[in-house]
């Protein structure tokens, strides 16, 4: 069976009046269903660009992206993209924020509404249904943003530094939170981050990108010997430090 997502020899350049910026160069990897991939790299190496390419907002300058073996344009698979900030709209209630995607795609019906209601209930937001985003804590807002993405029932979930706007402590717990939700909903996910610990603690595989133009510098499978994996427990596991040192060396090898 084809992997869910395949990128082959992807390059991308931005053009503006000041010249050409090659953001990504010759990126290839594939991702099996149900896996969690983390992409790390220094700021400005093209991580966000890569996610925009995968979800079809940008067209690669070179190379092919395939979903379930079909070119991105023909593939029927749904891709959910969670941006760095939650961008919940203050002029909408939490409920109408999380149903925004369904509203746009004209998919608001009994089934999808029930799905949203269930998620709000499960993830502790049902009492905030009619609240405004400003009444929620940073962690709750991030959860609401994730539910907004999940409401569209995506086959692949893209997360662009979803915790970077939070302070360190909230970040650890929200990280556990979001990881739990993704596992529970059995989603395939790509997490982009510049935080190596975050990547190792959440992912089944870490892809290291080099400085701009981003290239794949290393692919590191991650495996933790534990029953119920959570990011926080992983951070305390003995393997964690080994993985960290291994990838850290790689990140700094050609600076």
């Amino acid at each position: 069976m084809d992997p869910l997502l395949t990128l082959s020899h992807i390059s991308y350049s931005y053009h503006d009046l000041n010249g050409e910026t090659t953001a990504l160069s010759d990126i290839s990897f594939s991702l099996e269903e149900g896996r969690f991939l983390a992409i790390v790299g220094p700021s400005g190496c093209g991580k966000s660009t890569l996610l925009s390419l995968i979800c079809g907002l940008l067209e690669p300058s070179e190379g092919e992206i395939a979903l379930n073996g079909l070119p991105l344009k023909q593939a029927s698979a749904n891709i959910g993209y969670m941006l760095q900030k939650d961008h919940l709209f203050e002029w909408r209630t939490i409920y109408s924020n999380v149903t925004l995607g369904l509203e746009i795609q004209h998919r608001l019906n009994e089934h999808t509404r029930k799905n949203v209601d269930d998620m709000l209930e499960t993830y502790g937001l049902s009492s905030f249904r009619d609240s405004r985003p400003s009444q929620l804590s940073g962690g709750m807002r991030q959860r609401a943003a994730l539910i907004r993405t999940l409401a569209l029932e995506p086959d692949l979930l893209l997360l662009d530094e979803p915790f970077s706007a939070l302070d360190y402590q909230t970040r650890l717990s929200v990280c556990d939170d979001i990881f739990g939700i993704i596992k529970k909903e059995q989603k395939t996910a790509i997490l982009v981050t510049h935080d190596l610990s975050e990547a190792i603690s959440m992912a089944d595989e870490v892809l290291v990108l080099s400085r701009r133009p981003g290239r794949v510098q290393k692919k590191q499978p991650i495996h933790f010997e534990m029953e119920e994996r959570t990011p926080l427990r992983c951070r305390n596991a003995p393997e964690f430090k080994d993985y960290f040192n291994l990838i850290w060396k790689e990140l700094n090898s050609n600076v």
């Binding site: 907002l57 760095q84 746009i104």
Partner: protein, 265 residues
């Protein structure tokens, strides 16, 4: 509610006292002005024929109230101002949407809008009278001409300053440019729109009065010009006072609207 500390209590009381004092001072200043004006006129310090006086203004007003001519003048100025205001809001919103939808068009038109906006708009009024004739339509157009270009520019600038990440969000949710307009750009421009409205109501009033100066047989602007020509300065000053009150009322109404909207944003 939790207990308010003594220090906070005295702070609040101090603030309240200050606020009351300011309010009282404002009213006193106004009364003092009226008394001085009236007194100066009665003691012939100033010529009441030229400078009028509060009582003369009041009597003129009552007189015009009794022969009902005041309703014609206030009514037509108010009507013209409201119509031109509504048209300005509607048209500038439409134009801003159009410019936002066609970035190339906005690039082409940008210098023209800037020039038209920086033009002293009263210069257009005589031209409008010649072109369109001396009627109420022209007055409305004169009112619009003062406000519309600035209004388009402000609203369009507001549109283009919307957070690009918010726009990206709509695209990631599978939206089109129309969704971007309807779900992000318009709702997030509501505060700017309300602000523009507050500016425009005053500008429209200015434009309408200018229009009435040169092309009308009714309205407060006409009354001012006619009054000054026949040396009925009581009319002139009463009209100015009425214009002040009208501007104040219209502005306050918009402020109420703004506060309503803020509660929902």
């Amino acid at each position: 509610m939790s207990e308010i500390s003594l220090a906070q209590q005295s702070f609040l009381e101090e603030k309240k006292r200050q606020r009351n004092w300011v309010r009282a001072a404002r009213i006193l200043l106004f009364l003092l002005f009226l008394v001085l004006w009236e007194g100066a006129a009665r003691t012939h310090l100033i010529d009441a024929f030229i400078f009028s006086s509060p009582s003369r203004v009041y009597n003129t007003f009552v007189g015009m109230l009794l022969d009902k001519s005041i309703f014609l003048h206030v009514g037509s100025t108010l009507m013209e101002t409201l119509v031109s205001f509504l048209l300005v809001i509607l048209l500038s919103l439409l134009a801003a949407v159009l410019l936002w939808l066609c970035p190339l068009l906005s690039k082409v038109l940008d210098p023209y809008l800037v020039i038209l906006n920086s033009l002293p708009k009263s210069a257009l009024a005589p031209l409008l009278i010649v072109w369109l004739g001396a009627n109420q339509k022209t007055i409305v157009v004169a009112g619009m001409s003062v406000a519309i270009f600035g209004s388009i520019l402000t609203i369009y600038t507001g549109f283009s300053q919307v957070d690009t990440e918010k726009i990206k969000l709509i695209y990631t949710l599978g939206g089109t440019r129309r969704d971007v307009l309807g779900k992000v750009v318009l709702p997030s421009s509501v505060p700017i729109l309300l602000n523009t409205m507050k500016v425009n109501i005053g500008l429209c009033l200015v434009g309408v009065v200018i229009g009435e100066f040169i092309g009308s047989r009714q309205g407060l602007g006409y009354l001012i010009i006619y009054g000054s020509q026949v040396f009925k300065l009581d009319w002139v000053i009463m009209s100015i006072v009425l214009l002040c009150i009208m501007a104040l009322v219209l502005y306050s109404l918009l402020q109420v609207l703004e506060r309503r909207c803020q509660r929902h944003v």
